[in-house]
Amino acid sequence: MRVALFATCVNDALYPSTAIATVRLLERLGADVDFPAAQTCCGQPQFNTGYRRETEPLVRRTARAFADYDHVVTPSGSCVAMIRDNYPRIGARAKAEGRGEELAEAAASLVPHVYELTEFLVDVLGVTDTGAYFPHTVTYHPSCHGLRMLGLGDRPRRLLQAVRGLELIELPGAEECCGFGGTFAVKNPDVSEAMGADKLRNALSTGAGVLCGADNSCLMHIGGMLRRQDAPQRTLHLAEILASTEEEPLV
């Protein structure tokens, strides 16, 4: 099966290990992975900060970059939510403003083909046991976009539970936002910090060595706080755990 990887701008520039792990994982499961080089960013930061018109070139670019693929997979739930929920809105608004149907069509052509990584694994490939090996204690933070907008449900947890050697510990208050929220972290730093501190307290209370998530932007915020406090816990993207095997373990 031919699959296009949408790495996302955050992973490309800051967390290439997550994108590499996604490639390795998908290839191990038999997919033929491609990385269309015209891709950059879905435009979520711009759109969520109130710059809809400024997002439009990125809607066009993203739709064009992936036009030839039936399956576009990305290890970022919030980028999928951006495409699924907001691309059609951007298209509809452009149309309502008398600027033609081109954006709406671009959105409509892309949306049905985009999958968040765990959706693709569980729903399209029908896999929950990815053959991974990761002998550590792990707790899972379901990011808001994955949890509420995509409705990922227990997919990530089922994937983690099937990993050999992994001990999954429930995260208290898992469904609560970590306080990242894109520019929210900068525009409302005190509230963001307070939310992050509560998330950290809950995460550390599990005693797990690893806090796993499926969205590196949230993990950048949580991980940045953990490191500032020299806490005995590291953050890790789900793709990196699933890519780890007995032959090629992640250290």
């Binding site: 290439p16 307070a194 940045g224």
Partner: protein
């Protein structure tokens, strides 16, 4: 309420003080978490909740689409039933109408049912200026009024107070408003409630004028509905000779059948009860039963402007249950006062900037008072997509320009240009990676400072993913 929200600072600043107030944080955390769990259990009892929610949304949308017709229907029905209908375009007009109506009775005091519309227009302050004393009779509103405080929650305006604080407020201030609190008042809930009951009872029995809002107005019969828990509403709606109700024009539902839907959605969402203790409904006036004179003041105050906005108008579906406040992680930490209006929390963040506009600093800051986590949308019984409206309002604030936003727009434009030119983007990524050893962990300057105050920056990788891909796959 003798306090006022005018001149509030922008949300981030007000929130900063609240975040540091550990008593407030503790009070809010305890209260919102308790009600949050109860609501979830009450909602889970109904298998058809998603259908009810959809029905609530559709009924409200239909009514709003034909609001002109339904408003006329309400006016005709209320008039036919012996009531008098007044139209108020804004807060000033509504306040003037109510003050004149009270003055015409010759009375100088009124008893009030808890009402968001009268908070919104600052009625108590306006009445005070006209020489009329308004007594709040809802327990939490009473605490706010006696404490010379501001409401911080839609349903529980004194949610920011704990039992000890309430005892002190009662002991110190009840006497100047009427019957004093007992000398030996404890902070036991039953004792506090008893003190309030005795204090309020003399006001109920004396008052000749009652003032209320309404949760619903049923167009087909002109019936108003007030849903409450304490029975103070029932007293104010039945004992006085004159009743004046100030109601937002979006409170209409077409028929009694529609009420069935909302009487299931509202109590479970707000107090987590299957049914609230008191539901009072009245249609105009009835001889020998209840008030002999009834006035309905229909309030616009920014609602028709809100209705004109295709995305923003869904905020008018709100039934003021406060479920969105109780699940909001930002509200829990920032408290209600930071929102600068009687409508705090997620609904306030989308309603206030629409009703009042975005000219003031606090109103322009409200659409950003959210991490867009979506918990509010998930619980809203009329499916208001609050995150969608927040982002839509951010666009308006950004378009307005002003403090910080011109610079932000330039930065966003530059970022979009870069992201639309992958070659330049890759060059930038490579440069950052190659010089990564030189980057400090804490950065000075606006934006980055807020980030690095409490968080380390991630280490930059040796190379961007693109370069790895090129080497290993292309």
């Amino acid at each position: 309420m003798s306090g006022t929200f005018m001149g509030m600072p922008a949300f981030p600043k007000a929130a900063r003080d609240a975040v540091r107030d550990t008593t407030l944080r503790g009070n809010l955390r305890h209260a919102t978490r308790t009600i949050r769990a109860k609501r979830a259990a009450a909602v889970a009892e109904l298998e058809d909740w998603p259908q009810l929610r959809e029905a609530g949304k559709q009924i409200k949308d239909h009514t709003l689409r034909h609001l002109d017709r339904y408003l006329e229907q309400v006016e005709q029905a209320v008039t036919a039933a012996g009531g008098t209908v007044h139209w108020a375009a804004d807060a000033d007009e509504a306040n003037r109408i109510v003050a004149d109506l009270v003055k015409a009775t010759g009375e100088t005091e009124v008893v009030k049912v808890k009402s968001m519309a009268t908070q919104e227009i600052g009625l108590n302050t306006a009445l005070e200026a006209a020489g009329i004393r308004a007594y709040e009779t809802d327990l939490a509103e009473l605490i706010v009024q006696l404490g010379d405080d501001l409401p911080s929650h839609i349903l529980v305006p004194a949610i920011h107070r704990n039992r000890g604080e309430i005892r002190d407020i009662f002991r110190d201030n009840m006497a100047s408003w009427g019957r004093p609190a007992p000398e030996d008042l404890t902070d036991r809930p039953a004792d506090l409630a008893e003190a309030a009951r005795l204090h309020l009872r003399e006001k109920f029995l004396r008052a000749k004028v009652g003032i209320s809002g309404a949760n619903f107005m049923i167009a087909e019969t002109g019936t108003l509905v007030v849903v409450e828990s304490e029975g103070n509403g029932r007293m104010c709606l039945t004992l006085p000779e004159t009743l004046i109700s100030v109601v937002g024009i979006e409170k209409i539902i077409p028929t009694w059948r529609d009420l069935e839907v909302f009487l299931q959605l509202l109590p479970r969402s707000s107090t987590a009860e299957r049914m609230n203790p008191y539901t009072t409904m009245w249609t105009g006036t009835t001889d020998g039963d209840g008030p002999r004179t009834f006035h309905l003041v229909l309030l616009d105050n920014g609602r028709t402007d809100t209705l004109a906005d295709e995305v923003g108008r869904q905020a008018l579906r709100c039934i003021r249950c406060s479920a969105c406040l109780n699940v909001c992680p930002v509200y829990e930490r920032a408290g209600g006062h930071a929102y600068g209006s009687p409508y705090p929390g997620p609904i306030g963040a989308i309603l206030t900037p629409q009703l009042r506009g975005i000219a003031s600093e606090v109103d322009a800051s409200l659409p950003y008072a959210s991490s867009l986590c979506g918990a509010c949308y998930e619980v809203c019984p009329v499916a208001i997509d609050i995150p969608e409206v927040l982002v839509h309002l951010r666009e308006k604030v950004a378009d307005q320009g002003g403090r910080g936003h011109r610079l932000e727009k330039a930065a966003i434009k530059a970022a979009t240009w870069l992201l639309d030119h992958p070659a330049a983007l890759t060059a930038g990524e490579r440069l950052a990676s190659r010089t990564r050893k030189l980057h400090p962990e804490r950065l000075p300057g606006p934006g980055t400072r807020q980030w690095t105050n409490s968080r380390d920056l991630p280490d930059l990788p040796a190379e961007p993913f693109r370069d790895w891909w090129k080497k290993n796959h292309a």
